[in-house]
Amino acid sequence: MSEITLDGLEKRYGETTAVEDVSVEIEDGELLCLLGPSGSGKSTTLRMIAGLETPTNGSIAIGDEDVTDLPAYERTTSTVFQDWALFPHMTVLENVAFGLKMGGVSKDERRDRAREMLERVQMAAHADEDPTTLSGGQKQRVALARSLAVNPDVLLLDEPLSNLDKRLREDMQIELREIHEDLEKTFVHVTHDQDEAFTLADRIGIMNDGELIQVGDPDEVYERPENRFIEGFLGDTNFVDASVTAATADGVRVDTELDAELVVTAADGTTPDLETGTDLTLSLRPEILSIHGVDEERADDAGVRDARVAADGGTRNAVTGTVENVVYRGSTVRYSVSVGNSSMFAERTDASTGALSAGDDVRLEWDGDDVLAFRDDGDRVMP
């Protein structure tokens, strides 16, 4: 069994704390993505699991064994590095065979196993080449083969795809996923790219400022982020400052910088007990907003609209505004809309229906229970 248990892991460099109190259980055979912006401590955490950094505090166990004080060369982990770190003075084959050589495998056997690994990553044809002559994608494959050749219990991937171009990166994500399913080993993958994390991960651990804020299934962290940082990090959204005017069983009424009173409802009918005047931040993701053009006549009485009850029982909210600019983004069209003193954006997937252009008056609508609300300390309060 090779589940990994991190307990109260901490890494300080002098005054700065790179990783703070990270505790998580990574299950055997799981692919966990550590996702966070640069400097969030995710690579340091990975390097501590590899044994390449010594934790200041806390412990690391792989299976039943406490490996906290075990040096990297005695751990059953293997790392694919961001810049791949291939040995330039060895051929591709020698690179892949290096770990086996260190493990005392005989010359013939390690050559056969290295070839096997190179075939697995479709690099057998390059076995005798100098690794410095390879392209980024090829280096990445060789690095992967080199790490897999030692048959590690845990494979650690430190942003190995971040130096590849988009197309290649997406292909490699699928391939990594397949290799993971094939090997049934524990993988820990570090990335700052949320798309990559969603493509690869069984579970995602979100890191920020050295802390592991939330660990959960991809849909869980996306739909129920624990705090405002995660909501902002996992995709584009409209953050709207709001202030509670009334909290009732039907929902929370808020006053907003959109010059409109809106209602936030919880789908399960539970409304938190919020005092009047509590400051909140609402998150309105572009995919929950629908955008419609408003006719000239109706634009006069537009300006501000209050919430009204929608037909499905949920509370429908609407505001009106003016299109500021239109950005064509291939599969979607993004509209920036000025609403009140603020500005929001919405998207349409189909550009052909009712093309809107800058200057048009529009109405934005959404369901009150699709909105997430965060307290000013960042914690999510609704839903």
Binding site: G14, G51, L52, Y73, E74, D83, A85, F87, F98
Partner: protein, 276 residues
């Protein structure tokens, strides 16, 4: 526009010419030494009245000169080995320390101490070491001169290795550890092959330093361990014959050959990198 360009070119030519003149002026004595070594007469005169290889013959027949030559080689090789070992380890240790997060004992204490001998006048070092080696019973041994020269050569090897290591991709060391290579094996299999040319150049530098060093060797050597510069100095005081020029020519040739070798090695490395 074109006049500025013209002026710039003129300045460039003038600068190069001036630079070449200074260099020529500094190197001219070497030419004089080499030319006088081919003199036939018994006294050094420039230009010599007639040319011959007679003094080269004298040199090869002189047991004392050959002995000094061997002494210099022994001390030079000893210094090169010891200074390279210390310089490489010092620079490597400091890199490891920096990699592990900031300056520790190596960077803060050891390195300044290692650099200190460069700042102490060699006469003072020579006298001090003479007293010290007398106490510990190393007087007149090869070891004493090797240790003295190592004091000087180590910081220079250290500087060379700092620059070599700064170009080394330290992630390779991580990768080696990660793949199961312990500290010694990762150094031998991964670090060493990547910096071997730098180590070679550092070693040559240490060898040349030792070959040329005179003051400390004068204090520390005995007739059985005297090096070429020491013997040359002794001889000059007795007679200014072209033998000194012959010996100097040998020293110049060896130094130039060593530098050429170092340049060749680094250039080969550079060429192979360009080709790959």
């Amino acid at each position: 526009m074109s006049s500025t360009l013209h002026r710039e070119r003129l300045e460039d030519v003038a600068f190069r010419a001036g630079y070449a003149a200074v260099l020529a002026f500094l190197l001219l004595p070497l030419v004089v030494v080499v030319v006088t070594s081919f003199s036939k007469a018994g006294r050094i005169a420039f230009p010599p009245e007639s040319y011959s290889l007679v003094w080269y013959g004298e040199f090869l027949q002189s047991a004392r000169w050959i002995g000094a030559f061997v002494n210099s080689l022994v001390v030079g090789v000893g210094t090169a080995l010891l200074a390279t070992l210390l310089g490489v380890l010092g620079a490597f240790g400091q890199e490891l320390e920096a990699d592990a997060g900031g300056d520790g004992i190596v960077g803060a204490v050891l390195v300044p101490i290692v650099l200190l001998p460069l700042l102490v006048p060699p006469v003072i070092l020579g006298i001090t070491l003479l007293l010290y080696f007398n106490e510990v019973g190393l007087r007149g041994s090869y070891t004493s001169i090797v240790l003295a020269h190592t004091l000087w050569a180590t910081p220079l090897v250290y500087f060379v290795m700092r620059s070599v290591f700064s170009r080394f991709d330290w992630q390779q060391l991580d990768a080696a550890h990660d793949l199961g290579a312990g500290p010694v094996r990762s150094f031998v299999h991964v670090v060493l092959p990547n910096v071997k040319h730098g180590i070679f150049v550092g070693g040559l530098l240490a060898f040349i330093i030792s070959l040329q060093e005179f003051v400390m060797a004068l204090f520390l050597s005995t007739p059985s361990t005297e090096t070429i510069p020491v013997l040359a100095w002794t001889e000059i005081r007795q007679a200014l014959d072209p033998m000194v020029s012959v010996v100097s020519t040998f020293l110049i040739v060896i130094s130039v050959a060593a530098i050429a070798l170092a340049a060749l090695v680094t250039n080969l490395e550079w060429v192979s990198r360009q080709l790959s």
